[in-house]
Amino acid sequence: MELSGAQILMKMLMEEGVDTIFGFPGGAVIDIYDEMARTDIKHILVRHEQGAVHAADGYARASGRVGVCLVTSGPGATNTVTGIASAYMDSIPIVVITGQVPSHLIGNDAFQEVDIVGITRPCVKHNYLVQNTNDLARIIKEAFYIARSGRPGPVLIDIPKDVVNTKVVFKEPGEIKLKSYNPTYSPNMKQLYKIIDLLKTARRPMIFAGGGVILSGAYKELADFARKAQIPVTTSLMGLGAFPATDPLWLGMIGMHGTYRSNMSTAACDLMIAIGVRFDDRVTGKTDIFASQAKIVHIDIDPTSIRKNIPVSTPVVGDCKITLEHLNKLMAEADLGNLKEKRSGWLHQIKGWKSAGSLNYNQKDIIKPQYVIEKLYELTRGEAVITTEVGQNQMWAAQYYHFDKPGHFITSGGLGVMGFGLPAAIGAQVACPDKIVVDIAGDGSIQMNIQEMATAVQYCLPVKIVILNNGYLGMVRQWQELFYDKRYSCTCMEHAPDFVKLAEAYGAKGLRASKPEEVEEVLSKGLSTDGPVIMDFRVEREECVYPMVPAGAPITEMLLV
């Protein structure tokens, strides 16, 4: 059977179970778009290619499947770089398909030509320039396999226009076998026995869980492990939802804006079991005294994560879910003594830290951003899928919306991309049409990809946007206030659009709250409205995110108010 490159691409995407593509057409991919119109694949036309990648990313995180995005060559391709880098830092499986100028023009500075494989090399898990239509089917199959296996990540496929147009005899690619790529899923059992021994002697253990727990679907296994072993749990930003925030063993988030008890526990613990984390500098602060009294066990599927930032006594390379399953089994067989009694002193000490009340605030006559998030949590009963932009809005969302389940907190953690939240919300809403999806935004961040409002309206995606509007680039302003003698250099957003009118201009609903007593009403009205809504909350302008650990300081040196 003779098929064109475009037909092979569509056939292979359908075989991979792709039902939705986020993209933007152009000359180099016009034939792919022509072919796609003949399939059942749904295409979401975004307004900027950056939006397409973040939407594919949000789709992947909300659904647990590979997100797919399709763009043209040159500027189409370069516009995806930020989104690719964000997915890479957060280990999100996406496949980005870029068009390329015809093979014979490559290297000639042709119209809309760019070496996207070269540009993205440092921020993809892998990438391909397809040179022959005969390779296309295998490359697509490989790309999906690489994106979703091991430590997941973005894979880019660059396809020249002539490769798309050439017809070849189609051959089904066989089983993918890469001699150079064999992720380790099953842990070394000897190391697990060592962990059991450490559990026997530890007096003040804690678990530090991260995004890897969510990616490997180890939610239940982690909860079983923590409850059986009676060990308190903290998570990184990426790990929020990996352990129920309503569980008595939950410490809150760790790190720069982590809770007091979580950071104090880190300093005092004698055993830290780190699972699916990479010890980011926003978590550790000053590394040489991070958890300095503790033996550290580190479980991760990616060997490069282990001992990259923090010395580790027991390294375990393996999938979080499989490793925790084994550990739970070993723990059931081992005699760990009366754990409730053993841990009571430690858990009591932690309770004492809890009363330090590091997340308190006073709602007075100006709206406090924290209050908006708490009300949102109440009204959605914690069941919404929350996406965020980056900055204060992101941290308040992490601190005041409590996550009980994985897949409900979608944020650009590693790269910290302003403009991530709205397109990610669009992707998440496509993946979960029946869920409430809310983008928590700042007035600065939302303006970075505000054009995607048109996408939400065009496809009737009822995303809700909560803008915590303080007229500042709030997080940078906060740093300037605390560490630069209040020299607010270039952080005052003197001119912003009227977000209510802007929503209306896009054909969406716009609502505003300027007083605390209006907050609940605006939220309930916004949440119950069909279709996309922007809710503009005029919040206290100079509110700061607390607690805070200054960058590079030990994580116990916290500014509490």
Partner: protein, 162 residues
């Protein structure tokens, strides 16, 4: 922690772009490359890279892990600490005036290297050996006058057990 020299022998898929993936990994993560040699192996689908790098133990461990993580990297061997043979090669163009010619040939003879090009006022010498030998011959030739020099990096292989 002390920085030490490490020789890594890396087998990779022989595909365009692989070398830049590897060199990009080093530059992007702030690792150091002292020398890098690459060529096809006996299997035309596989190339061997020999990289000489410097760093303390945690850094070298991280370099090896990061290299292994690249999809096109088949195997990373560290040669340092085991038995191996290693060589570099240099082409050295020296001033060869009448009065120096005999001395240069004596040096070539002592170092068991070869003259591969002769002119009225130059010799080009081919020399292979380890770093020490390179340094030694350069020390002797420098006073005579070196016009130009081209050097490869280190290539190396394990010694098989006898």
């Amino acid at each position: 922690m002390t920085e030490e020299k490490h020789i890594l022998s890396i087998l990779v898929d022989n595909q365009p772009g692989v070398l830049s993936r590897i060199s990009g990994l080093f530059s992007g993560r702030g690792f150091n490359i002292e020398s890098l040699c690459v060529a096809e192996t006996i299997d035309p689908n596989i190339s061997r890279l020999t990289i000489v790098t410097k760093g303390n133990m945690p850094v070298v461990e991280q370099i090896k892990k990061q290299l292994n993580k690249l999809i096109n990297v088949i195997k990373v061997h560290e040669l340092t600490g085991s038995k191996y043979v290693h060589r570099e090669m240099a082409l050295i163009k020296v001033n060869a005036k009448q009065e120096n010619r005999a001395e240069i040939l004596r040096i070539v003879d002592i170092f068991r290297c070869k003259v591969v090009d002769v002119g009225l006022d130059h010799y080009t010498i081919e020399v292979t050996g380890d770093e020490g030998k390179m340094e030694a011959i350069l020390t002797l030739l420098r006073p005579i006058g070196i016009k130009e020099i081209a050097k490869t990096g280190t290539i190396a292989l394990f010694r098989e057990p006898k």
